[in-house]
Amino acid sequence: MFGLDKKDTKFLLIVMFLTLATPILLQPFPEGSGLAQFNAGYPDLMQRFAIFGIFAIGFNILFGLTGYLSFGHAAFLGVGSYSTVWMFKLLSMNVLPGLVLAVIMSGIFAFLIGFVSLRRSGIYFSILTLAFAQMSFNLAYSVLTPITNGETGLQVYASDPQYLMGEDALTTTHLFGFAMNKSLKLPVGSWEFTFNFGYYFCAIIAIVAFYVSLRIFRSPFGMMLRAIKTNQNRLMYTGINTRPYMLAAFVISGMYAGLAGGLLASMDPLAGAERMQWTASGEVVLMTILGGAGTLMGPILGAGFIKYFENIFSKINDNVLHGWFNWLPDGLEDAIVWLIHPFVGKGWHLTLGMLFMLVVIFLPGGLVEGGSRIKNWLKRNKQPKPNDDDHQPKHVAHVAEKEEF
């Protein structure tokens, strides 16, 4: 189905199911219970999961397949956001023209930046991309104020022309009249599920983005990109011009980033220069490595993980901690809260950093590798002695197999 073999179709269907059922899956705890704050099924966060999932999937096409580590992908995210907001300002609040322009503009930017940066490889490539992204950030922040509105950030004002805006058109972002912020709240027992149009819009685009990346992974083009990662020299002496392959991968992943940026602006019609800052570029690198670079599922997991931490762990402040441990004797309660305090709330970065170190050291293949290790371990426990090499061939490490988890 969809031009995929059986295994991949199954994989895609699982991803589709998980994405579409997110509003339910991420809301496992009943409202009002002590654990409800770990629920992540609210629209704003779910949209971020999908959007940063797209960002990371695109980044993985470049970094995961070719091994070229771009440290400036946030620039394309920013370009996408600015383009979309400009379309809101000039045309109407319909997100479609904005997203199209976001993809085109980020593609052009990626072509220009990639054309120069890809003359170098390794650390020099990373530094070049970082330099370009910081240049973009600084331009957006100061010099290009007429286009980017500088520090304040670009937003839609009532005085904007909005040439295609109808008389009674929506003033919030929408797709042909369906408002992005429209939600259906469905209470089931003590649970409450929120089905948000904006989330589903992002989710469907994310599924398409994932599908395209799956096809790229399985294509001769994807195979060439993996060959670049393992031995670029041999590829050149095999008659392949590696530069256009790299550039194509760079542009494709830049367009993914632009799409993600456009979606960010579509959910909340704002674009600020900080979206282009190097921390934002670093974040997508973390997502990809945390989840598992070069695997299909890894970047999505990584994106979800980091966004979850950012939004949920950061909300656990001292009051919440005292609430949890108030059954302990006073002195002990304070001691434990004091101990945990640096790792939650504003200190969530510390937990994330430690988790990242643990993953890099013990699971170089990321969370996906962790998943497949658990799976293998369960399998081994189920069948104690396979001892039948023909029917249980030894597992041969193979790139294409890494993504089953």
Partner: protein, 252 residues
């Protein structure tokens, strides 16, 4: 006229005159060996042929077309393939994929944005690659990761990759270096076998005289950057200059 004509190639590395007016004429369909003691400039010469190094002066013509100044992939697309001294393969990919890549390079050229095609549906490429692996007797290792192969198998894989492109000229840089005797003989057989069926011109750089005299139809001797002798194997064996260059090192 030969398939490969090298004229007055010079290359300096600082004060070292690595190649001194090298002339070489390789005839089509022949196996041409280049021998010489260590540091004679054999690898430098080969690197000049494939565009890895640019010689200071001189010209290299392949089938009447200039080679110098072209990029490595362009030279390869002209029909020149090279086997390296240490096997250069895609170690993270499977053996099968390793051979499919040159098949794609041959069919689709140096660049094609076939991002939405499926490797699984490329039946002709898959068949070609499989046949190639059968030819080098590696069909049972199809799905192994290339990095897990033995050294001899890596060499055979690299050769399969080069042959999969059906090159007109195959450059082999010490194809049997570091191989056991049995593997060496198998490689000699393989090279002879493909020579007969495909008529590929081969230029071999080799230390092992056993290999040289089993395969070569013409031998050029390179010493201190210059060709000091050229001729049929029988002639080279007794050539006084060659004996001198090797100082009795080789049992010729």
């Amino acid at each position: 006229m030969g398939i490969l004509e090298v004229q007055n190639v010079n290359k300096h590395f600082g004060g070292l005159h690595a190649l001194n007016n090298v002339n070489l004429n390789v005839e089509e369909g022949k196996v041409h060996a280049i021998i010489g003691p260590n540091g004679a400039g054999k690898s430098t010469f080969l690197n000049c042929l494939i565009g890895k190094l640019a010689p200071d002066t001189g010209s290299v013509m392949f089938q009447g077309q200039p080679v110098l100044g072209k990029k490595p992939h362009e030279i390869n697309q002209m029909g020149i393939s090279r086997v390296f001294q240490t096997p250069e393969i895609f170690s993270d990919l499977s053996v099968f994929e390793n051979v499919m890549i040159p098949c794609f390079a041959k069919r689709d050229g140096s660049f094609m944005l076939n991002a939405l095609k499926r490797v699984k549906r490329e039946t002709d490429i898959r068949e070609q690659a499989e046949q190639m692996l059968i030819d080098v007797n590696m069909q049972d290792k199809l799905h192994m990761e290339a990095s897990s192969l033995s050294r001899g198998d890596k060499r055979r894989l690299e050769m399969a990759m080069c042959l999969a492109q059906d090159p007109k000229l195959l450059l082999l840089d010490e194809p049997t270096a570091g191989m056991a005797r049995a593997d060496t003989n198998a490689t000699i057989d393989l090279l002879k076998h493909i020579g007969e069926t495909r008529g590929i011109t081969k230029v071999i750089i080799e230390h092992d005289m056993h290999v040289v005299f089993s395969l070569a139809e013409t031998i050029s001797v390179l010493a201190q950057g210059a060709i000091i002798a050229e001729g049929l194997p029988e002639d080279i064996k007794g050539h006084p200059k060659v004996r001198e260059a090797y100082l009795g090192e080789a049992e010729v």
